[in-house]
């Protein structure tokens, strides 16, 4: 155990943990939104994320970036980054909506059990992973460096790097936009209505299918953004990239209280920071053991997560 490291490098670890947590938080929003509306764990969400990373990769290629190139500068860099971000968000959103239409909608309309839908979700997830395994010949892919990584400032031993600052700030903005959308827009109200009571919402004239499509779309957009930020910081992806991140993001959603947007956000940041601290104190090998033990303890005390499961009031 190395508490001295945590003390000495506290701010550096916290900053890096927040950047990782921002990615977790963005992915976990997708889990939480779908659960809030359908009471379904969308297991294919990790692959929605994975497809986002590959789309960003393809977009960078279309923008003429090669892995051996030097990082871009000025407006060219901003444009390339934006195109990659939008490509990842769109691809993930489209995937999420398609998954819903193909794998869930019919089951839902025919009154299938939650278990059948869950298995369908797992099936979609495995098919997508295997398809990408074959397409990519099981090899990891590197993402070109579009933006040079530089240290903006050094505070109390913490080196603040530009890409991580962008991730934290942009993730915050996206979550703010999502929150506004859910609380203010017509579709947002629909989502909240359906999550409270599906039947009553239908009677009130809410178009359930549309609301569900919008839910998957919003979750997909967030996962796509997470995918772009992930690839910007870590610069690599593979067919199995969604697996570990998906589990962590799902955990973050449960930690915060699944179905609860603020919970997912908070859970993501907490888990990111917690994993980084435990890696420092107990060694990286113990990261999962300690973080998940803490999760179990939190759930023992608060079974519905830190912010409560109730979609209805808490999520806005």
């Amino acid at each position: 155990m190395d508490f001295a490291l945590l003390r000495d490098a506290f701010w550096g670890l916290t900053f890096d943990g927040l950047a990782l947590g921002a990615i977790y938080a963005l992915i976990s929003l997708g889990y939480t939104l779908v659960y809030g509306v359908l009471r379904l764990i969308n297991f294919a969400h990790s692959e929605v994320f994975m497809i986002g990373t590959f789309s960003a990769l393809v977009a960078s290629g279309i923008m003429g970036v090669k892995v051996e190139d030097d990082p871009r500068t000025g407006w060219k860099m901003v444009l390339t980054l934006l195109v990659c971000l939008i490509a990842a968000m769109l691809a993930s959103a489209i995937t999420a909506v398609l998954v819903e239409i193909i794998a869930y909608r019919r089951l839902r309309q025919r009154g299938a059990t939650k278990l059948a839908t869950l298995i369908s979700a797992i099936g979609v997830s495995i098919s997508l992973v295997e398809a990408f395994r074959i397409i990519t010949h099981s090899l990891p892919r590197e993402f070109p460096r579009i933006m040079d990584k530089t240290f903006l400032l050094s505070y109390a031993g913490a080196d603040i790097r530009n890409d991580k600052v962008i991730v934290i700030v942009a993730a915050g903005l996206m979550m703010f936009a999502l929150e506004r959308f859910i609380s203010k827009s017509r579709y947002g109200k629909g989502i909240r209505a359906v999550s409270m009571d599906e039947n009553t919402a239908t009677l009130m004239g809410v178009n359930i299918n549309k609301v569900i499509t919008v839910t998957f779309l919003a979750g997909g957009l967030m996962a796509g953004a997470a995918a772009f930020f992930y690839i910007l910081v870590y610069e690599n992806t593979s067919f199995k990239v969604g697996f570990f991140l998906g589990i962590s993001a799902f955990t973050a959603a449960v930690l915060g209280g699944i179905g609860n947007l603020k919970g997912a956000l908070f859970g993501g940041f907490v888990l990111g920071v917690l994993e980084t601290y435990t890696s420092a104190v107990f060694g990286t090998a113990w990261k999962a053991v300690i973080s998940f033990l803490i999760l179990v303890l939190v759930l023992l005390i608060k079974p519905t997560g830190l912010f409560g499961e109730s979609i209805q009031q808490a999520r806005v």
Binding site: A9, E142, N236, L245, A280
Partner: protein, 373 residues
């Protein structure tokens, strides 16, 4: 952790069923004799397996050109274990049950070897591994086990010497990926470096964020880091290390010695010191390397050793041995002059009289530094 548990479970399962599934050592083969290759042919480690498979394919095609009437199948019997013990476990009994498979080059990886070897032992199937370097393997394969390279008992100390020769007052931080291979290799590096080791961390396969490890390395004031593991994760690690502003020496073993490592890590790989008990095909025989490339097969790490291993088996067949038992006896007692070294196995199936080579990444290429003294 999941991998370890599943590996233990598979060992138990495989050992339990091996006797029932495997055929008698002398089961008759009615068709052409087959040479098998086992290693990762898909999955993130596939690059290494393909290097080795190419060596076997090349040896086989050269043999058949020289010996037209030989009763040997021109296609290599490919066994894809993805380098993963959990995948290797269920496959090994199927390979053992294939009567015409009379010899096997591989398994490529130590973890996969541990679950496969007991099965091949009970089936009497002779194996020569070109790259599994964990020192404990003879206890799993016993009489059918042969290894064409030096073990980690040699590679680790050589890696340690390489680091010190490039970095006189080296203070070294050790990182491993928790795999059988990585833990074994790190142990020997650790023993040789002794007082120079200033810290350690374990980053299990699948780790994507190395923040905490890098914080530890910085705090330890290490001047070098030795990463024990495979290239795909090594590339992610070295990239994050360089992005954190650290310029300390990066060193790693044969798991990282792969073109893919340089391709994935790009500029961050520059200056990386790597070791392997292997010799590049182009160095061992420029003429054959050219010929191989012309056939559309690119030589890589461990191609030479696989080529030698396959040739030893083919010599056994040429000498009139057509079943598993006699082929095993031949390779266990005779010797074969290979490109990398003369293969002559001792009672444990280990080879001697070879070197561990050092490499450095320079201008995006793996450059041979020569034998590590």
């Amino acid at each position: 952790m999941k991998k370890i548990i599943s590996a233990i479970a598979t060992v138990a399962l495989v050992v339990g069923t091996a006797v029932a599934v495997a055929p008698a050592a002398n089961a008759a083969c009615s068709g052409k004799l087959k040479i098998a290759y086992q290693g990762p042919l898909t999955g993130p480690e596939a690059a290494l397996g393909i290097n080795e498979l190419n060596g076997v394919k090349f040896a086989l095609s050269k043999f058949l050109t020289a010996n037209k009437g030989a009763n040997v199948d021109p296609t290599v019997y490919e066994v894809d274990d993805q380098g993963d013990p959990a995948v290797a476990g269920p496959i090994a009994p199927k390979v053992a049950a294939e009567e015409c498979v009379v010899a096997l080059v591989g398994p490529a990886y130590s973890g996969a070897s541990k679950v496969s070897l007991p099965v091949y032992l009970s089936a009497g199937l002779s194996i020569i591994t070109p790259s599994a370097t964990n020192p404990t393997l003879p206890t799993f394969g016993k009489s059918i086990f042969h290894r064409a390279v030096l073990t980690d008992d040699y590679q680790g100390p050589a890696a340690a010497r390489l680091i010190v020769s490039k970095n006189k007052n080296a203070k070294v931080f050790l990182v491993n990926d928790a795999s059988d291979y990585a833990v074994g290799l790190q142990k020997t590096v650790d023993i040789t470096l002794a007082g120079r080791v200033v810290g350690k961390d374990v980053t299990p396969t699948g780790t994507t964020d190395f923040t905490a490890t890098i914080a530890k390395i910085k705090k330890s004031k290490a001047t070098a880091v030795f990463y024990s593991g495979y290239f795909s994760q090594a590339a992610v690690f070295v990239k994050q290390l360089r992005d954190s502003g650290s310029k300390i020496t990066f060193a790693s073993g044969d798991g990282t010695l792969d073109d893919q490592f340089v391709k994935l890590a790009r500029k961050s790989a520059e200056g990386a010191l790597l070791t392997a008990p292997a010799i590049p095909f182009e160095t061992a025989s420029p003429k054959l390397a050219k010929e191989m490339t012309a056939m559309g097969m690119k030589p890589g790490v461990y191609t030479t050793e696989s080529y030698d291993a396959a040739n030893f088996f083919l010599e056994a067949i040429k000498a009139g041995n057509t079943d598993r038992a006699s082929i095993n006896k031949y390779v266990s007692t005779k010797s074969s002059k290979g490109l990398s070294k003369t293969l002559k196995f001792d009672a444990e199936g280990e080879v001697s009289g070879a070197d561990v080579n050092g490499f450095i990444v320079k201008n995006g290429k793996l450059v041979l530094l020569g034998a590590i003294k």
